[in-house]
Structures are given as C-alpha cells and as structure tokens.
C-alpha cells in the first residue's frame, strides 16, 4: 500500500517538474531572436543587436547606484552576489547555467532589475543587447 502511494507520488512529482520546467520554455537563442524582432518593430531603422553595446550597458550605472554587474559580477559566467543581502546568485550567462531557459522568469527579472538600475523598464533592444553579450561569453 505504502509503496503504491509512493510510486504514484514519484510519478506525480516527475509530471509536475516536467510541466513546471516547460511552462514557458525558450532557449536563450530563441529569446534573443524575439528581442531583436521586437526592437526592429519598435525602431524601424534598428541595425541589429550588439554584444559590445550589451557589455557596456551591463557594466555601467544608469543614473542610480547599481549596475547589472553590481550583483551579477563583471564576469557573469561565475557566481554573483546580491549586493544588499549577500545571497549567492548562480551565473547569469547561459553557457555556465543550464537553467536560464524560462521566458516568464527572464522577463520578470528584467522588469525588476531594470527598475532598480535604470528606474524604468528596459527596451527590447537593451534586453537583446544584454543577451547578445551573455551569449558571446565562454566558460573558460
């Protein structure tokens, strides 16, 4: 009896994990493409995403106290650290962190973090540039 219930629970847990993981699944490359398309719609003359612009954006402040690198580090292939609470943040760059594939989560954090760093939401071009930069990083 016990065993039966447990195996049911295990199946259920697996099903839940599967449903959860795939709710808004998107590879970082797919997200990058979507941001680029949105940027082109917003700005007809937009010439394409730039990793250099993304890196610059990531490492500088924008009128407030923090930059993206303040919490995610200047090398986001390694762990970051929340600047106020000290809590560890796993690497932001997809090459070093296989779990960066949840579009709803990515959008939620862009919204929060851009509000803290810029005092407004980020544009599609800014988000795309950051992703372009993160995707050029190597693990080594």
């Amino acid at each position: 009896m016990h065993i039966r219930i447990h195996s049911r629970l295990a199946v259920l847990a697996a099903a839940c994990a599967f449903a959860g993981a795939n709710a808004f699944a998107a590879t970082p490359a797919e997200m990058r493409k979507d941001f680029e398309a949105a940027a082109k719609t917003a700005m007809p003359g937009f010439s394409g995403l730039s990793a250099a612009r993304g890196e610059q954006f990531f490492k500088t402040t924008h009128g407030k106290d923090w930059s993206c690198a303040t919490c995610h580090g200047v090398r986001p292939v390694t762990d970051g650290k929340h600047t106020v609470t000290g809590k560890l943040i796993t690497p932001l760059a997809p090459v070093a962190n296989a779990s960066r594939t949840d579009l709803a989560k990515t959008e939620k954090w862009f919204k929060r973090n851009c509000s803290d760093v810029l005092g407004r939401e980020c544009t599609a071009a800014e988000k795309g540039d950051v992703l372009e930069y993160l995707l050029t990083l190597n693990k080594g």
Binding site: L12, A19, H82, V84, T85, K87, R112
Partner: protein, 159 residues
Amino acid sequence: MKTKWSKTLSLALICSLSVPVAAIADNLFAGTNAKWKAECGSCHVAYPAQLLPTSSWQRMMKGLDKHFGTDASVDTSTAAEIGAFLEKHAGSKRGIAGETTMRVSETAWFEREHRKVDAATWKNIKVKSAANCAACHTAAEAGDYRERGIRIPQQEITR
C-alpha cells in the same frame, strides 16, 4: 482509513498544493509553498512566516514594488497565493503578534534571542546585515535555526 487519490483533481491543482517538509523539531517553516520559496527566497533566505504577524505581511505584500529599496513585484495571482500562505502561518504568539515592523531583525523577539551576539560580529563584512540569517545559521535555507547549525563567521583581519 484509506486515502483515495481523486483522478478528477487536475495536475495543476496538485502541483500548486504546498508540500509539507519533513517534520524536524525546531524547524521554523510551519509549512511551505513552492511560489513563496521561489519568489521570497531568491534575493535572501525565505524568512519563516511565523516570525512576523499578519499585519506586517499584509503591509509588505502591498508594497513589493518598493521592497527595502528594491523592486520585488510579482503578478497578482502569485501575490494572492503568497499572501494567503504568509497569513496562514504568521506569528500569533504574544510579542510577535504585537510587532508593527516589517523587519524580522527588528522585532523584540529577535533582539532578545540575539542579545549575546556582540557588535563586532554584526559589523563583520561577511555578515553585512542582521537580515543575512544564513551568514550564521548555516541551515537557514531549510528553516533550521537550531544552535548546532550556528557558525559565527571569522573576523576579517583589517587592523
């Protein structure tokens, strides 16, 4: 008494139910909730609900876009679920029930419990903030604050 799993229960409902943690004596998580753990445990350890009263949690959940100087906003259905969870497990003991602060680390209970921790320890760069429970309570992530898990970080030698 037999437990029958109703097949009419949707998977979504089951997935959103809180999963009880293994009952360890002195575990401060009276219960847990997946959304609460994920959302409220991303920037700091998820603080045990019983350490603040209902009124504090209600006030906090209304102002998540301006949460201690940072934007911690969640969508409305997530906020409703987390709010209900926090209120269900909020502290009701005398002392905690009368608190008005939104900081666990400013409650009279916290100060009493930590009166033996000296000023230099609080200032240690590795602690940074009294809210950084996990700096000393190595199992805080699991809601375990028992003494055997306490490690006071060594002072950084700066002088």
